[in-house]
Symmetry: C2
Subunit: 376 residues, 2 copies
Amino acid sequence: MTPKIARYLAEQSPATPCLVVDVDRVEERYRALRDALPLARIYYAVKANPAREILTRLVGLGSAFDAASWEEISMCLDAGARPADVSFGNTVKKASNIARAFAAGVDMFAFDCAEELEKLARHAPGSRVYCRLIVENEGADWPLSRKFGTTLDNARDLMLRARDLGLDPYGLSFHVGSQQTATGAYEAAIARVGMLFTDLKAAGLDLRMINLGGGFPIRYRDDVPGIDRFALAISHAMTEHFGNDLPEMIVEPGRFIVGDAGVVSSEVVLVSRRGIDDGVRWVYLDIGRFGGLAETEGEAIRYGIRTPHDGTATGPVAIAGPTCDGADIMYEKTPYALPLGLESGDRIELLSTGAYVSTYCSTGFNGLKPIQEHYI
Amino acid sequence: MTPKIARYLAEQSPATPCLVVDVDRVEERYRALRDALPLARIYYAVKANPAREILTRLVGLGSAFDAASWEEISMCLDAGARPADVSFGNTVKKASNIARAFAAGVDMFAFDCAEELEKLARHAPGSRVYCRLIVENEGADWPLSRKFGTTLDNARDLMLRARDLGLDPYGLSFHVGSQQTATGAYEAAIARVGMLFTDLKAAGLDLRMINLGGGFPIRYRDDVPGIDRFALAISHAMTEHFGNDLPEMIVEPGRFIVGDAGVVSSEVVLVSRRGIDDGVRWVYLDIGRFGGLAETEGEAIRYGIRTPHDGTATGPVAIAGPTCDGADIMYEKTPYALPLGLESGDRIELLSTGAYVSTYCSTGFNGLKPIQEHYI
């Protein structure tokens, strides 16, 4: 938690549950990544947090943007981004939204299958397109599964077809999974994708770009390798494959830029002992999986927690949300210990919650209002 | 899908994704349950769908309401419900909301631990309280886990303590899990809870009510036992235990009342073959897990699907949502087959989606707007 957020919470005591984001910290993280990877262009993954204050700050810093939908493109343009700096990075797009984006000046699109390529040729003729490859997600806390990406063989055919359809076969992309803590995942992916890149150049395509995706991890409860370690691994792998003839590089960080700039402030609704566990208290907060903490599904992302009693004796707890839904449990298997003095009415903080909280939040499950947001 | 919904979709063709609910069907289901279980009072579980049109219709039919939050209580009162017909059924409540509910005339509250009982004694003195017991959820497609309920031993102490605190120890409750398809689950629970009931009466408490929870299943892709089968099992188990001296009975159906009254209309965004599966096409819809289909988590609830090509040859598919999130997959392991002619732009219907869709929906993940709702 930044000193600015700590001060804000102490002085304003905003109604809970709320998300407080330090926009200066967003800027620091953007600069840190730019310094670590000076050869890569940063496309901020808008889905991580599309708040106007964040987009405006990043536009001012010269960031480009990775948008998942026409609505996100629209938010970027409203915040002052140039259309040429926005990539429509979702491989799944309605034809009508491709046309809208193209009409607004966006000319860079992701795809991973022939059907999408046909749509792009029809509704965004001549645009730069890049093909997403499926790569290993091992080491990622929030893997991206088999939903996106295609095989090397298929990608080769698709890129040649892109040219035949009058599109500009601009590059290749991959994503090693979100909160990826293994630098080797990038190296392995670059080696595979690099081979296809070289192969396609040899086949006469004017391929110019490799999109390394996002996934850079942040510290939750455990240490993670610093961004310099990832930058080194990426630079090394790129140089090993391409030598001095490096293609354009793109990264699409979301969590890395905004994750640790945000804190959720929540009220403890109940601390119960119900006679069913060996000393495990159940702590119920006024925010849960359906109030924005969707990334706790499967206990995947494990937030650090601060309480007013920190420093006193602790005991094991399970942590759940405020709804009547049995699935609304954040942590039951992950060992969490909280102070024995914790009680209803206490105000606690969930740390590094700047990413993937505000928009995941449900519209009104169990009647509960969406989380309030404060950008300071 | 009711004829009224089919006609509405055909004539109005509302923008997708949208939820269309036939409120007459809600009434039919309410009446069917009332006829099957005439001795039980129905407390509609508002969280299943809190739409004003549904609450108003149910008020007119004499329904009572199970509310999960102060906000839901407020919706019920706004729709014309009497405070005496509203139960604050969440075992996890902020003290301030207990006080608000009590001030509004609500005098019936659930609890499952000593801490909550203390809050109730302070903020809703003299109210009717009922203790929730933990029971087996085997046979339920959406089990309620260890988040709620206490043991028989603990409940006994708590009910005696409720009296000592000046509360009215009104009854006992349990929940066999949502979309519970085994009638035996109710019988087993009644046998256990009935013993405690009798025991507490013998100890001098004026216990008067058993809350059987909800969980009654509806037909998705597979047949489920009819409500008469559940009614018979419940009546039999109650009579076996209590003879002619039956306590008041309460049921809290949500899904059963509104589930099959609703249909989600969605557009196919993409049908892809990406070379990674053996003939499995990936079908991407404009609604997914974060757009309201949260109950497809773990592929738990399996909706029936109608397409414009029904009756033609089909092939295996995986079905996913429109966002860039790898977790936004509805069905990858469950065998689903859809017509081979299905393509981008087709409009399909997800059946029996009246419950737990509209409010689970995220506020704007990936920039996507919340689902539109039509009550007809």
